[in-house]
Amino acid sequence: MECREIREIISAYVDGEASPEEARRAEEHFGRCPECRAAEKRMRALGVAVVRAEGAVPSDFRENLFARMEKEDLLPKRRSIFAFSLRWAAIPLAAAAALALFVLSSRDVPRDLSSTAMRPPGVAGPAGELSPEDREIVAYLDILEDPDMLDETEIEGMEIFAPSPEQRG
C-alpha cells in the first residue's frame, strides 16, 4: 500500500478510531516504512501540543457571567444567609415563643380555681367579691402602672403577699 493512501488510516489509528483491520494494516506498514513511523510520532506530538494550547480562565469569569445571567433572569438569585437563616429559624422561634408564653402565663394561673388566694389579682371570685389581698393589690395598680408615684416610705410599708405553704398545696 502506498504511504499516501495509508496516512489517513494512520491518523485514525493515532486517535484510537481505526478498525482492528485498519490498525493491523497500519502496524504492518510501520514495520517496513520509517517515514510513516516518523509521521505517526509527529501526529501524536501535534495532539499533545493542542492539548497544551489552553486558554486562561479569568478569576472573575464566573462572577461576570452569573451577574449577566441574573440580569436576564436566567439564574435564580441566591438568598442572603440572613434571610435563609430567618426562614428556617421561624418555626423553632415561633415554637419557643409559644412555649415561653405558656410558661409565663401558667405561673399565675391557679391550679385550684376555687381557691381565692391563688386567683390572679383583680379577678373576682365565684361570688363576685375580692379577697382583702386582692383589694390591696388593686389599690396599688396605679403605682404598678406608674412606678414614679411610689416613694420609699410606701415601699417600706408594703406587705409582700406570698402563698402560704397550704396554699402552695
Binding site: S11, A12, E17, K41, V48, A49, R52, V57, E72, L75
Partner: protein, 191 residues
C-alpha cells in the same frame, strides 16, 4: 453524583445550584475550545460567556436523550462561528497571559524529547503554542473544529460527527486534512 442531564432537568425547574454545578464541570473546556478556535484570549472569554448564556436560554429545549456535552459543544461551535463571522476586521489582539492570577494552571503533558523546567523548553513551548494557534486559524473552520473537538476536547469521531452534523467518515477525512496542514505549517517545531 448527578449526571449532566439530571442537572439540566433540575435547572429547568429553577435550581441555581444545578447550573452552578454544570458550570463548574464544563467552563474550562468551553474556554479552551473557544481559545483554540479563535486564537485570541479576549475573544475566547467573550465567546465562552455567550455560550453559557445561550445554554441557559435554550435550557428548555434540551432533551435528556442527547448527551449534554455534545449539545453543549454544538452551541459552543456555533457561537464561536458567529464570533468569527462577526469579527472579520483584524482588531487588536490581546496578548495571551499564562502567568497572571487568573490563569488556570492545569497540568499539561510534556512534549516528547524535551526536559522539564528548562528555560529553552519553556521558550520553545511558548513559540510552539503561538505558531499552533496561528496555524489553526488558517484551517477551514470545519476542519479546525473537527480536529480541536477530537484532539483538544477528547470527543470521539462519532461525537464530533454529531456536533458538526456530518458523517463519521467526513470527520475522519477532515481531521486527517487538518493534521497534514498543521504538520506542514509547524515543520521543524513538531518532530
Amino acid at each position: 453524583m448527578r449526571t449532566d442531564a439530571e442537572l439540566m432537568a433540575l435547572y429547568q425547574k429553577g435550581s441555581r445550584d444545578a447550573f452552578e454545578e454544570l458550570f463548574a464541570r464544563h467552563h474550562r473546556r468551553v474556554i479552551h475550545f473557544c481559545y483554540r478556535m479563535t486564537g485570541d484570549q479576549a475573544r475566547a472569554e467573550e465567546a465562552a460567556q455567550e455560550v453559557f448564556l445561550r445554554i441557559a436560554r435554550a435550557a428548555s429545549t434540551y432533551q435528556p436523550t442527547a448527551r449534554f456535552t455534545t449539545w453543549m459543544y454544538t452551541i459552543t461551535r456555533r457561537t464561536t462561528l458567529n464570533f468569527l463571522r462577526d469579527e472579520k476586521e483584524p482588531g487588536e489582539k490581546v496578548p495571551i497571559d499564562t502567568t497572571g492570577e487568573g490563569y488556570d494552571a492545569t497540568e499539561g503533558i510534556s512534549l516528547p524529547g524535551r526536559g522539564d523546567w528548562d528555560p529553552e523548553q519553556v521558550a520553545w513551548e511558548a513559540q510552539l503554542k503561538d505558531k499552533l494557534l496561528e496555524a489553526l486559524q488558517k484551517l477551514p473552520e470545519v476542519n479546525r473544529a473537527a480536529f480541536v473537538l477530537n484532539r483538544g476536547e477528547g470527543l470521539s469521531y462519532e461525537e464530533v460527527a454529531t456536533v458538526l452534523g456530518v458523517t463519521v467518515q467526513a470527520v475522519k477525512s477532515r481531521i486527517f486534512r487538518a493534521r497534514e496542514t498543521l504538520l506542514a505549517e509547524l515543520s521543524g517545531l513538531v518532530e
